[in-house]
């Protein structure tokens, strides 16, 4: 996933650099950057990257879409790009065409359930739904007596209680009360709530890894500028060692996330091996967000704690993204159960299969 040979990522990075510069965005208290950014992304076909041409999207590969999400993380992009991509992907699984405009996907937590009533309407509550407030449509995974279905729902028909995540982005509670979907179709085999959560978790892992790459970059740069005790702080061994640890966390997050993305992009089903990759990525990236973010703030001193500085755009989002599509605690329990059920002698073969 080198940046240079990927046209999707190149296009996205150019748009982010022009219209989503973190410093410009951070100074803009009115959020007037959001509309032009979304428009440019839409014109480039990026929000529907994972939707095939015949369903209204741009038909990029899973791999390219994942690389795009990593780039979005490097800019801490705060528009529903990942969410719309995931929604488009989910709808496409049931061959439902994607409409224009912002979307998000629900449920966004493994604990919430949306159910299908006898009359085909949808009910249930989904908490922590990213950007629900900004979405025109929801892609919904719902459980009925025929199993799992995928539905396109008009956001206007839902009750939305606004909330904010740690990074000040919308993370809302969506309640569906006998809502008739625009379209609903039975999900194909292999698409269920667990797999949707794994897919969302890998998307978040790539964003967290991207944010960590940027935190490393700006922390190294800052340490080479800031002078204390008559030398650059980068010359203090303790500071160097902190930055070396940040580099390790950033590298580990990126390795875990890109490996999981590669696994999903090349898999035919969400088998145990893919489960190991995806769950591990979410766990490891979340741990890296905590450790790495802590170091980045330490290196920046008080300046990094201000709302004026861009560091929080990365550090708080990386922390917030830990909670979406199952926290690392959730996935650790699930992965632990999987490993235990396979038995001690199967642990190494599972790890070595990747």
């Amino acid at each position: 996933m080198a940046e240079s040979d990927n046209i999707v990522v190149e296009t996205a990075e150019k748009i982010f650099a022009d219209l989503a510069d973190p410093q410009t965005i951070n100074n803009d208290k009115k959020n007037s950057w959001q509309a032009p950014l979304w428009q440019a992304l839409s014109e480039a076909g990026l929000p529907l990257a994972w939707v095939p041409d015949d369903l209204g999207g741009s038909g990029a590969s899973l791999a390219d879409g994942f690389a795009l999400l990593n780039a979005a993380g490097r800019f801490a992009v705060a528009v529903p790009l990942a969410e719309t991509m995931l929604a488009g992907w989910l709808l496409a699984q049931a061959k439902i065409a994607s409409p224009d405009g912002e979307m998000t996907v629900l449920p966004a937590s493994p604990k919430d359930r949306i159910t299908i009533d006898a009359d085909g309407s949808l009910s249930g509550r989904a908490r922590g739904v990213p950007f629900a407030k900004a979405a025109k449509h929801f892609a919904v995974l719902a459980h009925g007596k025929d199993g799992v279905s995928i539905a396109l729902v008009d956001a206007g028909k839902a009750r939305i209680e606004s909330g904010l995540n740690l990074g000040y982005d919308h993370s809302d509670t969506v309640t569906l009360d006998k809502v008739q979907p625009v379209t609903i179709k039975v999900a194909p085999d292999g698409v269920d709530q667990t797999n949707l959560m794994l897919m969302g978790g890998v998307a978040r892992s790539l964003q967290i890894a991207g944010a960590l790459e940027s935190m490393l970059d700006i922390s190294v740069r800052y340490s080479n500028e800031r002078v204390a005790f008559e030398k650059k702080i980068s010359k203090f061994q303790a500071v160097q060692h902190n930055l070396a640890r940040l580099a390790g966390e950033s590298a580990a997050a990126l390795a875990a996330a890109t490996s999981a993305a590669d696994a999903i992009a090349n898999a035919t089903s969400f088998n145990d091996e893919v489960y190991l990759e995806a769950a591990s990525a979410k766990i490891r990236c979340a741990e890296a967000a905590e450790k790495g973010g802590g170091i980045a703030h330490q290196v920046h001193g008080a300046i990094g704690f201000t709302i004026e500085h861009i560091l929080h755009r990365y550090s708080l989002r990386a922390l917030a993204w830990r909670d979406d599509f199952g926290s690392e605690s959730h996935w650790a329990v699930e992965l632990g159960k999987l490993v235990a059920s396979r038995g001690a002698d199967e642990l190494w073969p599972l790890v070595a299969s990747r």
Binding site: L276, R284, V351
Partner: protein, 386 residues
Amino acid sequence: MTAALRFDPIRLPEKCEQLRKEVRAFLAEEIAAGTFDPHKPNREDTDAPEFSRRVGAKGWLGMTWPKKYGGQERSFLERYVVTEEMRVANAPTRRFFVADRQSGPVLIKYAPEHIKMDILPRICRGEICFAIGMSEPNSGSDLFAAKTRATKTDGGYLINGTKIWTSSAHIADYMIAIFRTSPPTKENRRHGLTQFLVKMKQPGIKVNPIGQITGQYEFNEVVFTDFFVPEDHVLGEVDGAWKQATSELAYERSGPERFLETYYVLTELVRAVGPNPDTRSAEGIGRLVAQLHTMRRMSVSVAGMLQAGKEPVVEASIVKDIGTVWEQQLPHRVRDLAAFVEETATNRETLERQLDFAIKTAPKLTIQGGTTEVLRGIIARGLGLR
């Protein structure tokens, strides 16, 4: 600059998986024959010369080396698979491991042809054991403070001084060591060290075993008294060993041996916990497995870089740093998690024995092969901080 820190998701090619099966079958046979007990992680002081020869006969030593030296011209990724399967099985690799990983590649790069033709095929056959003589009583992390002298004499050099912490010196046939051939210069304190091939088990060398806190004997003090090394045993550039010694380390630092040394306690925890763990155990196991998986992905990635002819010095240092910190913490985390495992007559026995050994082993992990502090200095340099 962070672009330099990408760990691409290299996958092991199909022929590696075939090889993995062969290695597993071989190890199963050895275990069945009683060569070693996979549940006794005492590999470190087990010398198994016959096992070593059988591994050599399989073609699993010097795998990446040229055929004319007895090698197989296979890939780093294939070697990687053999290494990790041996580690995970707790196979007794002490006799051949250093030669295969480090000493052989140094000889291939710097030894004269007749020495290569003599020694490398014997390494490949698993017949000889190597040691690394870098550390001295007053020079560990600060390699360039080494004082053991090599003084020019007729047809060679006379060695006087002491090496220390030399793993396997008590069984080694050869040592690759650095000695001082000139004083450091004002401009370059790294100048003046030369790398030599030393034939062990000769008069003038005394090996004194040093006990370790695990109760084992693995490393030694090696005292040289007017010990003669012939001229053609100089490896590479006289006074220029610092360049050579540092490039050697990328191989030493990123392999599976850098995060799997205490792995066995994790398997035993899963065994003791059983198929239906409580939430606490499940979460703990899940987090440890996520770490293990990530480490391994990074390590395979570095093997891929080596295969591609790159010199991933910073990446290898990151793998060693994260890897050894992980394998050091692992037994303590397993102990935490095992605290509430219901005790039956036998379920904790192996776990307890292995934890005991792993906890005693742990303190060395972040020291051997370069301390964590030194590695973080290398990473910091890679980040442009020094």
